[in-house]
């Protein structure tokens, strides 16, 4: 009964195109933000930060990035892991090359560098689509991992071939390096997530987002009514890669602290992010969050319940995780390509009309 549009009149077009047109949604959004900033930092511990919250936030950024490319612009990519690696290595080179500059700028800079690399690897999309484009991005994935393994300049000639993040601070508080507290890791990732989700929302509801969706839905008609396909596709690759690069930079510097590229940013990462986008919902920012939460929480939950409570062997629980995710991917692809986000939308639509279904 509370969930209503009635009495919530729009008096301008700006009002009408806002992100949460229904008051109740707006309140819920503010409530989530209040808890995220005002409560969680005070109660978070290492386990929750490392097992759930920090990876969730970082994956959410990556999933939004891939969703922009695949969900909004319709271009398939299997290169997400490779682009995260670009972000991580760019961040590492910037951190070690310009230690006097704030880590925040290093992460953003890593995003821009990845955007450039992404646009470059997006060039084939001007000629090829679908399956062939997927194979081209797969090639990018393997090439990038190979490159970062092969060229010592990228890991500053370190003997292990790994990159590891030195300690960096924001307002005097360590956010990278071994002395970082759980709440600091969480909070810096949260800030990036909030700003970037807002940017993604702005881009997707405006001119450029419409040009992406037009290309996705019918590229020939899009071009004939005035969408420059070159610009639309390359900006989608660039913006998507920016998000993925930032995610890679945070994943390396804040979350893991040290990275071996093949292990962390391999093809599995590309698939993981793709699954988040499919399960969460193609073409939805909210879905990117839902998918990231699902893929992070599911193994944790299974482990706690099945292994911790019921005493199953660990590997059995892990297998079950694979099976559930696999089955869900198939179900969502066939039955509901808009994923959890659409289920959520349908539930809300029902609620809006309840208790009078007509």
């Amino acid at each position: 009964m509370f969930y209503r549009e009635a009495g919530d009149f729009k008096t301008s077009y700006t009002d009408d195109s806002q992100t949460f047109p229904i008051k109740f949604d707006r309140w819920r959004y503010y409530a989530v933000l209040a808890v995220a900033f005002g409560v969680i930092p005070f109660i978070i511990d290492d386990y929750w930060a490392n097992a759930v919250l920090v990876p969730f936030l970082i994956y959410a950024i990556a999933a939004i990035g891939l969703n922009i490319l695949t969900g909004y612009c319709g271009q398939v990519s299997l290169g997400t892991g490779g682009f995260m690696a670009v972000g991580a290595y760019a961040c590492y080179k910037l951190m070690t090359g310009f230690p006097e500059i704030s880590i925040v700028f290093h992460v953003i800079g890593a995003g821009f560098i990845t955007a450039g690399v992404g646009a470059l690897f997006g060039l084939p999309s001007l000629r090829i689509k679908g399956f062939y484009l997927a194979v081209a991005t797969l090639a990018a994935q393997f090439f990038l991992v190979w490159l970062f393994n092969k060229v010592p300049w990228f890991y500053n000639n370190s003997a292990s071939g790994q990159i590891s993040a030195p300690e960096r601070t924001v307002f005097g508080i360590a956010v990278t390096g071994p002395n970082t507290e759980a709440w600091a890791k969480y909070l810096i990732c949260l800030c990036f997530v909030v700003v970037l989700a807002w940017v993604a929302r702005n881009l997707t509801r405006g001119t450029i987002g419409r040009s992406w969706m037009a290309i996705r839905d019918m590229d020939i008609a899009a071009e004939i009514i005035g969408v420059n396909p070159l610009k639309a596709k390359l900006t989608a690759f660039a913006v998507s890669s920016f998000f993925i690069g930032v995610a890679g930079a945070l994943f390396f510097s804040v979350y893991l602290g040290a990275v071996e590229v093949g292990e962390v940013f391999g093809i599995q990462k590309s698939f993981l992010i793709l699954f988040m986008v499919i399960i969460g919902g193609l073409g939805s920012i909210f879905g990117s969050f839902a998918g990231a939460a699902f893929m992070v929480l599911m193994p944790v939950l299974l482990k706690n319940v099945l292994v911790g409570q019921l005493g199953w062997p660990t590997d059995l629980a892990a297998h079950l995780d694979f099976m559930i995710v696999g089955a869900l991917i198939v179900i969502f692809l066939i039955a509901e390509p808009h994923g959890l986000a659409q289920l959520w939308r349908l539930a809300k639509e029902k609620l809006r009309l309840w208790p009078f279904p007509h």
Binding site: S12, Y13, T14, D16, S17, V199, N202, L203, G206, T207, I208, R210, S211, M213, A214, R216, D217, M218, I220, A221, A222, E223, I224, I225, G226, V227, N228, P229, T235, V239, G283
Partner: protein
């Protein structure tokens, strides 16, 4: 035929101006198939120009040449008095040419409103940075264009389906939204490829009224392909008749109706 190079006045008193677009000796081949064979005709400012002919005559191909989607094998396209260089379709759109398609080509996953806003793509000027921040020009531009689109929504009487994803709309409404998307561009020249195909009588009447009103109220020049001879006779000022890629007639509806070649083509006289 009387000389009309300085324009003319129609029977219902509308002033038709000088030449807007001129197709000169257009030939279009696909491998061995000759879809258009040495056709010339012009379209004048403010007129409703029909292209008619049996299936496979090359009418859609002609619109695709005008849109820049097909590049003619021979011949020239003149627009506003100068020869048009080879252009990409989106550049043609920027020159003020909009169109609809024979098989509806809407963006199915987007709402009516977003489809129509996309129609104004060529008028959007804000930078990506401004859009990312939803700030300054980006926000101002969005509400200005929304206002323009809302006028067209009112004009086409589709207020109720503003926010509906177009994939869910019935066929007749989709056709109307597609017209809306083209109108949203505020084109100088509007190309309509069989705007009434597959419609019932009532929908056809609505569509005819919209086409006449667009021409009358906005002064938009219209080139349309249509099968229904009755509709063509009612709507158009001048008609080009095509058959097997060739032009077999060109003139006012009355002239064309009494042209023996046209009668033969429409009565299905064998071509040997």
């Amino acid at each position: 035929m009387k000389d009309m190079s300085e324009g003319y006045t129609t029977a219902d008193g509308r002033k038709i101006g000088g030449t807007m677009m001129e197709m000169k000796n257009i030939t279009l081949r696909f491998g061995g198939v000759v879809a258009i064979k040495d056709i010339s005709f012009d379209i004048r400012e403010g007129e409703i120009r029909a292209i008619i002919g049996p299936n496979g005559a090359g009418k859609s191909s002609m619109l695709n040449v005008i849109s820049g989607f097909y590049i003619p094998s021979e011949g020239e396209v003149w627009f506003h008095g100068s020869k048009r260089p080879q252009m990409k379709p989106y550049q043609v759109a920027q020159q003020g040419i909009a169109r609809t398609f024979q098989n509806i080509a809407l963006f199915k996953g987007m709402s009516t409103l977003d489809n129509m806003m996309t129609g104004r793509m060529t008028r959007m000027k804000s930078s990506m940075a401004q859009q990312a921040m939803w700030w300054g020009k980006a926000q101002k531009e969005e509400s200005e264009h929304r206002e323009a689109v809302e006028k067209i929504i009112d004009f086409l009487e589709i207020q109720a389906i503003r926010k509906t994803p177009v994939g869910r709309l019935p066929y007749g409404l989709q056709k109307r939204v597609e017209l809306g998307r083209a109108l949203a561009a505020e084109p100088k020249l509007l190309l309509l490829d069989e705007p009434m195909a597959g419609m019932n009588v009532e929908e056809k009447e609505d569509m005819s009224r919209f086409i006449l009103d667009v021409n009358d109220e906005f002064g938009t020049t219209i080139a349309l392909i249509e099968h229904d001879m009755g509709v063509v006779m009612d709507l158009s000022d001048r008609v080009v008749v095509m058959d097997y890629g060739k032009k077999i007639g060109d003139g006012t509806p009355d002239e064309v109706r009494n042209n023996q070649d046209v009668i033969d083509a429409y009565l299905g006289v064998s071509h040997d």
